[in-house]
């Protein structure tokens, strides 16, 4: 008797659960059959009225029906949940190709980038980064560097003179003297900065440009030591092996003085327009510090010596980024500057 009631109930409930078209109709089916006041619960209540010998079997059957319906319900329920989640996720599509809102990050000037890089490189080798004034005394810019008044070497450096008797430094070399005055020996410094030459501006000439001066003073510094630092410097800049050559060059503040050439990175030697067909690019004037310069800085040349070099940062930036017109650098043109 109860078996047939349960069986009939089970098939009716199963049909309803399976046919539920929405979470709501599923829920009402659950309430109707599996709820606290549902059909199965009321059968359960009547269970006590059965004779004891039938009760156990009936209870077993009831539980089986209940478990069957519950698992049917759970399966159906999770199908609805999954469908709902899928629908929500599908609806939440976004267009990933739209531009990101907010202000774009700006950029640093290429001369800043190269300065920071070289400062890091030299700091790692124990060099201090030193600044000097852009307006200099004639003494620091020339006399202290073994370029007395009426020295023909002054021709090479067209100078802006100021009405207060000072001048705009024509190179970063005066910082050599200032650093020696400040720190004494031993000394390892670099001095990047802005320098000025009284020249007309065109695609390859500027009256304002950047140099990086370097100097090492210690006991028995040799040409071989200088070469080690110069080669390392160029390899750090170009991030590859470079071939260098050293040849005589005249600069009054060094003796001996050198021009350091780098084998053309564009053609590798056979000659191209960048190296003017020579296979070599002149990059780095350098030399052993002249004893007179050491004396200007208050250092005894019998005790100490050293090397110094001057790197044209503007030229280097142009080489590295293939910039064909020096005027871009001071143009303030964001179409140019944003490329870095």
């Amino acid at each position: 008797m109860i078996e047939s009631t349960l069986s009939e109930l089970e098939s009716r409930a199963a049909a309803l659960i399976d046919a539920a078209a929405s979470p709501d109709s599923l829920e009402s089916a659950r309430v109707e059959f599996l709820g606290r006041k549902g059909a199965l619960a009321s059968i359960g209540k009547d269970m006590g009225k059965l004779p004891p010998d039938e009760r156990a079997a009936a209870g077993k059957l009831l539980n089986a029906v209940k478990q069957n319906l519950e698992s049917r319900f759970d399966a159906r329920k999770s199908a609805f949940d999954k469908a709902a989640l899928d629908a929500r996720l599908a609806a939440e599509w976004i267009d990933v190709t739209r531009p990101a809102p907010g202000v774009r990050p700006g950029s640093l000037h290429p001369l800043t980038l190269i300065q920071s890089e070289l400062e890091e490189y030299f700091t790692s080798l124990g060099f201090a980064v030193v600044d000097g004034p852009e307006v200099e005394t004639e003494w620091h810019n020339f006399d202290a560097l073994n370029i007395p008044a009426a020295h023909p070497a002054r021709d090479a450096q067209d100078t802006f003179w100021l009405e207060d008797g000072h001048l705009l430094r024509t190179h970063t070399s005066p910082v050599q003297v200032r650093a020696m005055e400040k720190f004494g020996a031993p000394l390892r410094i670099i001095a990047p900065g802005r320098v000025f030459r009284n020249e007309e501006v065109d695609a390859s000439h500027e009256h304002t440009f950047y140099q990086l001066e370097g100097m090492m003073i210690d006991k028995d510094v040799s040409v071989a030591h200088m070469l080690y630092f110069m080669k390392g410097l160029l390899e750090a800049i170009f991030n590859r092996e470079v071939t260098v050559r050293l040849r005589p060059g005249f600069f009054p503040f060094v003796e001996p003085g050198f021009e350091l050439d780098i084998k053309c990175l564009i053609c590798g030697g056979p000659g191209c327009p960048v190296c003017k067909q020579s296979g070599w690019v002149e990059l780095l004037p350098c030399g052993l510090v002249h004893p007179n310069v050491l004396r200007s800085g208050g250092i005894d040349p019998e005790q100490w010596n050293g090397f110094a070099f001057g790197l044209g940062l503007t030229r280097l930036v142009m080489m590295r980024y293939a910039i064909d017109d020096i005027r871009h650098l001071a143009s303030g043109d964001l179409r140019f500057l944003r490329q870095f």
Binding site: E134, V135, A150, A224, F250, N305
Partner: protein, 799 residues
């Protein structure tokens, strides 16, 4: 300096390397060569030809000539336009197929007449500048042009010769090549040609420190005429013009021996004393170049009884110049002190071949060598010329420099590679240094006179001689073995880099502007030009003044970029340069200037800059400046405005603020005055990085977190339109008492139901206590005390 390869070769025994190799050797061991170019290579193919027939061409100024061009070319018919093309002369024949530079000579029909080749002028052959007619020479038909052959010109960078007086002549360079290649040097000078006997002139040198030596010779029976072509070609190769035989010889010797000379017309000199003296104050001087100069005692002159006849070492005088009529000359070969010559030539803007050599400090021993060379050359170019009297020579030799001690062990340490003493000695001797070894291991080196004037004075100079000759390529790079020392840290520079990074991260692009401004740029912003440091020698007005603000440059960036873009952000970190009293160097103050240009109403841009300021200076105060009078800015700016206490003239008078941080004024934020920006609006942040760096980073210290929960409530306050949100917030904060955690401005509202002259400002107040959770009674009490304070200050509250 241009060097002729043929000329150098003639000064050496044994053939030197080929021109390209020689150029490379000079670059690697002596001085930088800028290049090597062929000189008149066609001379290998041009031959002498005799004109045997000339016939006019109807309707043309040309003639048709039959020439005998020798056994190889035979008889040729050539059309020629030269006025001197006549029967019997021997001239230069350029066969068809030969190129003269970029001009190729072809068989052609000219005016209906066949022309096979060309008869050439010296200018067409590029051996001088004479194109008045075809050249006339004496040579057998078919022979090469006598004394003329193809050459190469090696150009050496003058800057790399600054320290080498001897390399301003071919002989000096030949000596280098002898040392480099092992060839033997051939001295062109024969001192035995100098005459003995009494000189016709006496030389009076006022100050031997200005003119160590003055030598001269007198010649008579002089014929002034064009030089032979070989001499003209030599000068042309060395980059000089041919003038006449006498001047050409002096220029030739200058280019060969580096000794500048000058020929006076002896018949135009007064008296028999030549003085080398300081000019008299205001002494007039007519120079060869047609200019008249007024001299001062700082200038050195050569004078006769009648006054200055030459500006020593720079330029000869017009009154004593030689010309076609000249028959007697005084040939000067002197030595002058370098800096005096350089000062005079710079001052007069007269950079002559002579002054360029003298300013490098020439060898006083060279004067008589040059005269001996002149005796030989003048006899060739002016046949019949005769010496008169003995050598004129006034010389007070400067003390010989002491020998230089050169310790081998020092040399090796400085070079960084081993080298044998014997090799060092060989190198120095090949360059004609005297080497002895009084102490073992230490050379005593005497310097030859042509290197002793300035060039070589200390052992470091000898290091260079040895180093360049062994070849710097032989030195390996070696890392130094030195104690590690922690380098000094440039915190200020690192600080600037940090600021750059932070500002760029906020969307600003870095620019580099010039340190110069023009007067008109300065005036445009109300900066007094007189308060700038002025450049004495600007190239253009754009570079007249040193900037005292980054603003003119940044303003230019704004205007320029507004042509391409509506909204952009940029910044610069650079030095302001301010005058200082008492001859001290100027005060260079690093500043950051950041700018936003927008097409909007400018409010957001202003506040974005305020946020940038807060990124750099957390918790800084932005204090409005008193609203200025807009009427002060009509049309052009008056410089006086800048001096007033109110906002500078370039600021929008109602949109400007001062920034203070930890008790210091650090900068300003302002919108540029609308009259300065037509394309939109531009806001500027200007920070004094010197002050900012001195303040250092804000100290950081941990505060215990609040253990009890905080509570928040919102209030909307009705206030007049220009009530400052910041001030109102402070009032709320102080009314909230010690339990106030924060007062956050939310938004403002204007419009219905508020009257037109009111706005509502909404705040969120967060409160908590350090030792318990605030009860609802406590919260109500705080809220009530805020409301009461606001009401008593005259504000209403919105529900």
């Amino acid at each position: 300096m241009k060097f002729s390869y043929n000329w150098l070769s003639e000064l050496l025994y044994g053939a030197p390397a080929d021109p390209a190799e020689l150029t490379h050797l000079i670059t690697m061991k002596t001085a930088e060569c800028e290049g090597v170019v062929p000189f008149a290579p066609w001379l290998a193919q041009v031959v002498a030809a005799r004109v045997i027939e000339v016939a006019p061409i109807e309707g043309s100024h040309n003639v048709v000539a039959q020439v005998d061009a020798g056994p190889v070319h035979g008889r040729k018919q050539v059309v020629c336009g030269a006025p001197n093309c006549r029967i019997g002369i021997t001239t230069a024949y350029v066969p068809a197929g030969v190129s003269l530079g970029d001009k190729q000579i072809l068989k052609a029909v000219i005016g209906g007449v066949e022309s096979d080749g060309m008869l050439a002028s010296a200018a067409e052959l590029a051996i001088n500048r004479d194109h008045s007619g075809i050249i006339e020479i004496e040579a057998a038909p078919g022979a090469p042009l006598p004394g003329l052959s193809p050459d190469y010109v090696i150009e050496v960078d003058n800057k790399s010769l600054t320290h080498r007086p001897d390399l301003w002549g071919h002989f000096g360079m030949a000596r280098e090549l002898a040392a480099i290649t092992g060839a033997k040097l051939k001295d062109p000078v024969n001192l035995s040609l100098l005459p003995s006997g009494d000189p016709l002139y006496t030389v009076d040198i006022e100050d031997h420190s200005l003119a160590p030596r003055y030598s001269a010779l007198v010649f008579e029976n002089v014929t002034v005429q064009p030089s032979p072509l070989w001499l003209q070609a030599r000068l042309e190769a060395a980059g000089m013009n041919s003038i006449n035989n006498i001047v050409d010889v002096t220029n030739f010797i200058a280019a060969e021996l580096a000794e500048p000379m000058h020929a006076f017309d002896a018949d135009k000199l007064n008296g028999t004393t030549i003085s080398v003296r300081r000019a008299k104050s205001g002494e007039p001087y007519d120079a060869l170049n047609g200019e008249t100069y007024t001299l001062e005692p700082r200038h050195l002159v050569i004078a006769d009884a009648g006054g200055a006849i030459a500006l020593a070492g720079v330029i000869g005088g017009a009154g004593s110049a030689i010309n076609d009529q000249t028959t007697r000359i005084v040939l000067e070969s002197a030595n002058f002190e370098a800096t005096g010559i350089r000062r005079t030539s710079s001052e007069m803007k007269l950079r002559t071949d002579a002054s360029m050599r003298f300013e490098k400090a020439q060898d006083p021993n060279n004067t008589v060598r040059a005269l001996a060379r002149a005796v030989e050359l003048l006899a060739i170019v002016s046949p019949g010329i005769r010496l008169r009297g003995g050598l004129i020579d006034n010389f007070k030799a400067p003390p010989a420099p002491p020998p230089i001690a050169l310790p081998m062990e020092w040399l090796v340490r400085k070079l960084g590679r081993p080298i044998e003493a014997a090799e060092v000695r060989a190198i120095l001797e090949s360059l004609e240094f005297g080497v002895s070894e009084p102490t073992p291991g230490v050379f005593s080196v005497t310097v030859p006179s042509w290197r002793a004037t300035k060039d070589i004075t200390i052992k470091d100079d000898l290091l260079e001689e040895v180093g360049r000759m062994v070849g710097y390529g032989s030195i390996p790079p070696v890392p130094p073995l030195k104690p590690v020392q922690r380098p000094w840290v440039n915190h200020e520079r690192l600080f600037h880099h940090d600021i750059r990074q932070a500002v760029a991260a906020q969307g600003f692009t870095e620019t580099y502007n010039y340190s110069f401004v023009s007067d008109s740029m300065a005036l445009r912003f109300g900066f007094e030009p007189a308060s700038h440091i002025r450049v004495s020698n600007p190239i253009s007005v754009e570079q007249s003044l040193m900037r005292i603000s980054l603003l003119p440059g940044i303003h230019k960036n704004i205007v320029d970029n507004a042509r391409y873009s509506g909204e952009f952000r940029l910044f610069e970190i650079g030095n302001e340069i301010h005058k200082r009293e008492g001859g001290a160097l100027p005060h260079e103050i690093p500043h950051l200037m950041a700018a936003i240009h927008t097409k909007g109403d400018g409010t957001a841009a202003f506040h974005e800059l305020k946020r940038l300021a807060e990124c750099l200076m957390p918790g800084c105060d932005v204090i409005p400046t008193p609203v200025g009078q807009a009427s002060s800015l009509q049309g052009a700016f008056s410089p006086a405005v800048a001096g007033q206490a109110s906002s500078p003239a370039y600021e929008h008078p109602a949109r400007a603020a001062v920034i203070t941080w930890r008790g210091e004024r650090t900068g300003r934020i302002f919108e540029l005055h609308p009259l300065l920006v037509e394309s939109g609006r531009a806001s500027i942040l200007d920070l004094d990085l010197e002050v900012l760096f001195k303040l250092g980073p804000a100290p950081k210290r941990y505060q215990p977190l609040r253990r009890f929960p905080s509570s928040s409530f919102d209030l909307s306050v009705v206030a007049s339109l220009r009530t400052l949100a910041g001030e109102l917030g402070s009032q709320i904060s102080s009314a909230a008492g010690s339990n106030c955690e924060s007062v956050e401005f939310l938004y403002s509202y204007q419009g219905q139901p508020l009257p037109d002259d009111k706005q509502s400002l909404s705040y969120r107040i967060t409160v908590s206590a350090p030792d318990h959770t605030l009860s609802s009674e406590e919260l109500t009490a705080i809220r009530a005390s805020i409301i009461e304070a606001l009401k008593s200050a005259g504000y209403d509250l919105r529900g």
